[in-house]
Amino acid sequence: MTRRYSAVSLFKEGLNAQKGWQKAWRSPEPKPRYDILIIGGGGHGLATAYYLAKNHNIRNIAVIERGWLGGGNTGRNTTVVRSNYFFPESTALYEMALRLYETLGRDLNYNIMLSQRGIITLAHSEAEMEMAARTVNAMQINGTDAELFDVDDVRGVLPLINLSPEARYPVFGGVWQGRAGTARHDAVAWGYARAADRLGVDIIQSCEVGEFLVEGGRCRGVKTSRGEIRADRVAMVVAGNSSHLAAKAGFRLPITSYALQACVSEPIKPALDTVVLSPATGTYASQSDKGELVIGGGLDRVPSYGQRGNLPVLEHVVSGLLEMFPSFRQLRLMRQWAGIVDVTPDSSPILGESPLPGLFMNCGWGTGGFKAIPAGGTLLAHLLATGKHHDVSRPFDLDRFARGRLIDEAAGSGIAH
């Protein structure tokens, strides 16, 4: 039976009519009790399980998922990874994630198709160029890679962009992060699931949470559609449903949920080999390995749990793209979708113990959860295993809203929140 993926195993299975491959993960029946129970089988939940087993040697873990693995926001994003944030706390967080992404394929023995093709955040005025210089300085001081690009530099990475001074949004330059790029989003979820499963983690799909089991003021587990599951510690990692689950646990969160849309064009030959983001036009785009242009933008302005998105924002995003790249006007859109993102008042995530003792949270990533998956998993695993914050996650505890120490990254997210 072939368990490990390699050139040799590919060759052997080729000779063997591909009959020896094993299922990537088991589908076990839930046990009545675990050391740690993780609600949510997206990237962050699966990564948390993997790092609990790998870094902390805790194996009696279950991940429960209402739908299927990676069927929420992990499967609904635009696959960009980057760490071009402004504040030291944020850079520490997203840079941890990007560094882990750089070796994740080998670590998981799963090809996550990381492509560090760089990201250019465009500046469309002298004033925006000054802000770009400030951002580059902040990023370099915070220890991540950043360069200030002028118009000629932009031409070098974006040969098709309209650089005419008469353009509606003339390009003055931008912020370049060369280590940013894209990764295959489904592969990230599947790779973590397979690696966690091999370390003994039970991954249970089609298992919906009913009520929390609370005894002596502590969370002791959950009632699910597949019976009661008890655990010493419980984590909710359920982007797009965080407020809903928090209400079941008896508290409210500083979160408003919005749809975030994306769309892809028909596939074309390679035309865009970097990620381009324009805050002024509210648009960003990259080209997938399949050739489709992957196009995203800002949040819908209507709070929503409907995973569809609305037309006004989609029109705005597409018109912004076509202003910058007139040649893309010929393309047809193939499909459009939306994920539900949990937006906090400071556009930064929430990592920490919830108001219900024993219940821990990883939520509030807004539009930027995918790029943070390895860090979110590492940090929540640290919290669950030790009961204490990692230095990197401490600033993102829920208590920052009562203490007034917000980390206002509305600009670092690049797209208006």
Partner: protein, 94 residues
Amino acid sequence: MQLFPCPFCGPRNESEFHFGGDAGNLRPEGFRDVTDGQWTAYLHERNNLRGPANEIWMHMTCGEVFSMERDTVHHGVAQAIALANGGGDDGMAH
């Protein structure tokens, strides 16, 4: 494009409206008596309901502020009530 009902102007495009938060999120009164927890709840915590929700909206074109009962999953609007006169016409064609 979804139409939202302004109690003053009637059905208008969704892009003319601005979301104003939960209905009933009243500023805590009594300067010295308000705890950190009460301020945090007022400033930051949100109901963020999945399903029927009662929210404050503004029609930016005319400036009318009103409460709207709206389902956050399928986006159906049950009613919209002007706040100016303590309620009234919901602005929807019947």
